[in-house]
């Protein structure tokens, strides 16, 4: 009897130590998760909160609104986006809005163009066998993918000279062409994977029904490829929206995008903390929203081909 109780006690004890170990493990995991969440979120929090601070609050390192400092629309007023300034005319706001518009048009335009060109090529590469000189499908795909390694510095200057001759310098269209080029390999990669996952029997059924190659593609396959297209489009959007190098070299007044505007403000000495913070917040806000609400598509776009 007594031996039995002592045995069960040791079992319970061992069980208890295992539970303690388990709890410690849990705490470590959640501790690490929270720590990294802090690292990811703090710079964003700092930027957003700084846009509501006055100079004293910045220099004294105040962090918590209402407790540490009294939030104020100062930063937003300086770019004309605060509630009281939004109805008045404001030059900084006009500039900001025109940069914002440029960013939207170039990134959406380039993503759309890349999606059209890339989907077509990806469908072709996934369904048909091509032979162009010595190049077969794999070589052609490698040719497209190899564009990824091209550093922007190599293209920047030839483009500067060519665009000058073509009168495309400082135009949105010029930027759209370049951005399309930078995201095209990624779009082709994602879309090819997407088309490969759609059974070829569907194409064959469409041919039997009397549809042409293009009819089958447009009416049967393309609607099924919408998830991949969404992923490719959003990923392209993110890359184009954030692009700085080409925009800095190839635009001056008309087609300047948001990153160039942000960068040009940081260069000056004696930074206006609040207005820089407001500007940065406004520049990153669209993509932060995209990241929060469309995370699924970004992940599925990035993980194309992984784990297969």
């Amino acid at each position: 009897m007594s031996t039995l109780t002592s045995a069960s006690a040791t079992v319970r004890k061992r069980h208890g130590s295992r539970r303690a170990k388990h709890i410690v493990g849990r705490m470590l995991i959640y501790g690490a998760l929270l720590f990294w969440a802090f690292i990811c979120l703090f710079p964003i929090y700092w930027t957003v909160s700084t846009s509501f601070k006055s100079a004293v609050d910045v220099t004294q390192g105040h962090l918590i609104p209402w407790l540490d400092f009294q939030p104020d629309w100062k930063g937003w007023r300086s770019i004309g986006l605060s509630p009281d300034a939004i109805l008045r005319t404001s030059n900084p706001r006009d500039e900001f809005m025109s940069r914002f518009e440029n960013s939207v048009i170039t990134s959406v335009g380039a993503s759309f163009l890349a999606l059209v060109l890339g989907s077509l090529a990806a469908y072709g590469l996934s369904r048909f066998r091509y032979k162009f000189a010595w190049m077969r499908n794999d070589d052609i795909l490698f040719f497209f993918m190899s564009q990824l390694i091209l550093p922007p510095v190599v293209l920047a200057l030839p483009f500067l000279v060519l665009y000058k001759a073509l009168a495309l310098l400082d135009t949105r269209f010029g930027l759209i062409l370049l951005y399309t080029l930078t995201v095209l390999p990624i779009v082709i990669w994602i879309m090819r994977d997407q088309f490969n996952s759609i059974p070829i029997e569907l194409d064959e059924a469409a041919f039997v029904d009397g549809l042409s190659v293009w009819g089958a593609f447009l009416r049967i396959i393309l609607p099924l490829a919408v998830p991949g297209m969404a992923a490719a489009f959003i990923l392209s959007l993110v890359l184009c929206w954030n692009e700085y190098f080409f925009a800095a070299l190839l635009t001056s007044t008309d087609a300047k995008t948001l990153p160039v505007m942000v960068a040009s403000q940081t260069g000056s000495q004696g930074i206006n903390w609040w207005s820089m913070a407001a500007l940065s917040t406004a520049a990153i806000a669209p993509l932060v929203l995209v990241g929060i609400f469309l995370e699924r598509y970004i992940v599925s776009g990035l993980t194309t081909g992984a784990g297969k």
């Binding site: 072709g124 000279v161 700085y244 993980t303």
Partner: protein, 372 residues
Amino acid sequence: MQKSAAVADGGHHKPAPRYNLARRKVAGRALVAIASLGGLLVLLVQILHTTGTIQAGFTNWRPILYAYLLWSIALGVGQVMIRGERGQRALFLLPAVLFTVAVVIFPTLFGFYIASLDWNLSSLEGPHFNGLDNLIALFNDTYYWNALGNMVFYTLAVVAEYAIAFALALLLNADIRARKFFRVVFLLPLMLSPVAVSWMIGKSLMEYRFGPAATLARALGWDNPAFFAHPWIARVSIDAMDAWVSIPFIMIILLAGLQAMPKEVLEAAKVDGANGWQSFWHVTFPIMLPVSVTVLIIRIIFKLKLADIVINVTAGGPGGATDTVSSFIYRVYRDRSNVGYGTGLAIFYLLLIIVFLTVLLRLTSRWMQKVA
């Protein structure tokens, strides 16, 4: 039964389509030929106009672009007319190929030409040919070699990024609550523009006097938290920012790999009495090797383009310690307007990258996932 009827039907109409087919082929060839001739003519006129031989011509080269577009359309239509069904198939690939040739191949070749010029935008005399002088100057340019040396550091730092990203992926793959929340939060830095990050972190968080990071460093006992004054600290700081932006990318891909891993393998390891570390080192890591190598190579490709953070935070300083090749060439363009030499540097860099990546792909192809 139906089939034979169809064949009979087709046989009945055969002479007419064949006749049409031949005519269509001829018309297609003619179309392509006319379009090519027209395009060449426009090009010739413009070249002669620019060199001053003839008066007629356009004020800029934009019409050449339209001519290329028209020629491309004619080529596509011609393909369908000449080759029928196979032409229609080629039409899928043609737009992307023509686009890539126009915006990559041609400018790159043009870049080789510029690289052989002595061309400074700020000097009064125009460009003139100087052969390999740029290449020779390049070998004596210590700043360029310094930047290349920095690239070695930045590239090696990818391994550290990978280690952190792997740890995060394992955390997210563990049995946790609020997984979706953490995944979204961990992904957020990837969304942010490097330029905004340069300001948010480099110029404000790491500000010497009152940036929170500096305050924290002082509290931890570092008296003089100047993140961008000492060469090595500056280099690490720059890379920390780049890592902050790009770790999510590595993490997400590794996470996908982990989730695709068969559960039975880890359970088998557990049954065999392996502890956490052993099962990671002997089971998870080897299974993840192909994904890892793939993501590392993609990451290295992107790392080799690193520029915007350096340009905006340190402009290469202190004394070129944080310069990447791209940011250095950017300054050659922007500050010295030395476009011939800058392009020479860029082309040389491209060749180095191609050699490096070819060797890397050869060495790692054993473990690589088949990308193509």
